[in-house]
Every structure is written in structure tokens, then in C-alpha cells.
Subunit: 198 residues, 2 copies
């Protein structure tokens, strides 16, 4: 017996999702086939209606259900600072620290020539237009400290600094709680070169 066509189609669609291989997709598909109709409807509706209702904030590119995201539309946010991040998940992470009161700009990716992702494939033009219209005091580059994140930060710094805007990069160093013994060399060297006076 071949696998039923509806199950094969579920497997095909599910296995497109990140981290879901053929085996997991199959397990999920068989589980979904055995779920009450009502629950599957809720799942499918949540995915489709959810996706349909989500769009990019017209200012910063963060996810939103209206024109502007919750952060851009809040007047108490300090609009002299723009923190540039790779994707909306990073905004959530930054907001969790309850310590930053400026605005964001979501790039939706980082430069990665090997994957064919150049400056026009991520929201750099939107950032430059935004800076042009209303120049901030500071741009904080908060892309990850990996090759793509560093390349993107360097690229942006070179683009923005000539406009006389202060450009900063989040600090690299030892994560809190990590024993020096277990730190990798690059992190340790970044921590050394970024040392501050006590």
C-alpha cells in the first residue's frame, strides 16, 4: 500500500518548514490525520489567517497587524535612536531586556554573498530613506556577531557614517555566567579588545 495522497501532501508541505525532516513530517501528518476535525481546522486557520493578517510596519519593517507596529506607534519611544536588527524575533529579544527605549529597523536578513543575498535583498534602502527623512542621533547595529552579521554591520556603518550620524555596534564579549575556561578564542579576544575601565 502506498501512502494516502492527502497524507503525502501534508508530508510534502510540512517538510518545507525549517527543522522538519521527512520523518518528523510523516509523524506529524499521521498525527494530524487522527486529530479531531475541529482541532485541525483551528490549526489551519491560525496559520492561514495569521499569515494573512501579518504585514511589515511601514516605518521599521517589524511585524504588525496595522500600518505601524506597536513600537513605532507608541509616542513615548525615544526616536533619536534606531536599533538595526536582522528579523522580528530579534526585536522581541531586545524588548525582553526592558532597557532600550528607542526605535528599531528590521532588515529581514543579513548580507550573504554566498547565498546570493545582496544589499537590495534586505531592507537597507528603507533604512536609508528613513534616515534621510528624519535623521536620528544614533544608529545601533545589533546584527549577530557572525560572518553575515558583521559584514552587514560593516556595510551599513560605511553607508551611514558619512551622513554625520553616530553609528555604534553592540558589544561582543563573554556572555554573563560563562566560565572563561569555556569561552572560544574569538569571543575571548573580542572581550579583551573591548575591555572597559573600572
Amino acid at each position: 500500500m502506498e501512502q494516502l495522497e492527502p497524507i503525502s501532501r501534508m508530508v510534502a508541505e510540512l517538510s518545507h518548514l525549517p527543522g522538519i525532516g521527512q520523518k518528523t513530517a510523516q509523524r506529524l501528518a499521521y498525527h494530524i490525520a487522527s486529530m479531531p476535525l475541529e482541532e485541525v481546522r483551528n490549526l489551519a486557520t491560525a496559520l492561514w489567517q495569521g499569515r494573512k493578517s501579518i504585514r511589515y510596519c511601514e516605518v521599521c519593517g517589524n511585524y504588525t497587524v496595522s500600518e505601524q507596529c506597536e513600537i513605532c506607534s507608541r509616542s513615548e519611544r525615544h526616536n533619536g535612536q534606531i536599533c538595526v536588527v536582522r528579523d522580528p524575533r530579534d526585536v522581541i529579544a531586545m524588548e525582553r531586556m526592558h532597557d532600550y527605549h528607542g526605535l528599531y529597523h528590521v532588515l529581514h536578513g543579513t548580507l550573504s554573498p554566498l547565498d546570493g543575498i545582496g544589499p537590495n535583498d534586505i531592507h537597507i534602502k528603507e533604512l536609508m530613506d528613513r534616515i534621510e527623512k528624519e535623521p536620528p542621533d544614533e544608529i545601533i547595529l545589533a546584527t549577530s556577531p557572525d560572518i553575515e552579521g558583521e559584514a552587514t554591520a560593516t556595510y551599513l556603518a560605511r553607508l551611514i557614517k558619512p551622513k554625520g550620524i553616530r553609528v555604534t555596534r553592540i558589544a561582543h564579549g563573554l556572555p554573563v555566567g560563562l566560565d572563561i575556561e569555556y569561552a572560544d578564542e574569538v569571543t575571548l579576544s573580542k572581550a579583551m579588545s573591548g575591555r572597559t575601565a573600572m
Copy 2:
């Protein structure tokens, strides 16, 4: 900023799936939010339409899109044998060996008093009705060799044997390719007690 409501709903629904925790659900939800509309539509449709089109075979309880499953509706299958399995995935596994030509009966679960699953919660009545209507020569109990599987097999054997039908249990022993050194004691003891003449 709180998580967007549509994303929270996706996370809630996705985390109901087996093996998908809060973190994975969140990663998936953010990925789905960034997927092209068309792809999300395909995913949601595959799940919902797929689930809607799948029902239980009226004879054996296997998944099907018509009244009877592919196996029950095929005339060349030997209907003197019924192989009893826990769920439709087991049918696929059995069919992969291309060696069994009888019919199946899918229980949709195994007895598990601790989880409150008794004889009326799985398709035992359907099996008994089927045996009553058209008694087979042999019932092969192919539930897994775990506590629930064994309990279910014992329960069914006690129910069916008095009807004069041959009841067999699939063999337990060393899986092919496993070094004896690495076999657990229970498997090894089953392999010893189930030894056959050469």
C-alpha cells in the same frame, strides 16, 4: 512589546502537535509569518483538506479516502488472515516488507489503564463484530512488544481464542544485524524462549 496576537495563536496551535515544544512552535510561527502567502495557503489547505478527506476504512479502520481502504478493497488479498495493529503507520510498516498478503485491523490505540484507555476506547468491538460476521482462519497480533502492546495482545487472545480461531503473536527476538552483546536482557530472553529448530 508583546508577541503579536496572530503569532501567539500560531504558537498555541503548533505547540499542540507531538514533539513540538514552545520554542520550536515559536520558530515555526515566525518562519510561517515570513513565508510567501501562497505557500502558507498551500500548507493550511493541505492540512485541512487532507484531514477532511481522510476517514476510517469501514472494514479494518485503516485510513482511506473512500469507503474501504486500498487493502480491503483489493480482491487478491488473502482474507483468511487478519493482522491486528495499533495504528495506520503500522500498516505502512508491515506492507513495506511485501511479505504479508492478508488483511489488517487497526485498533487506533492500545489498552493503557493508566491513561484511562480501556477496551471501549479502541477498535476492539469493530474487530469482534468483523470476526463474528466472517471468521478468519488466523488472527495475528502485531502490537508492539511494550507493556501496552503486550496487555492488548493478551486481552485480545483471551477474547478470540474461545471462538476456535487460531491466534498468533509476532515473534520477539534479536533484531537482524544487532550484536548479541548489545541486546537487552528481556529481548535476549525472548529470543531464547522463542528459539526454533534448525
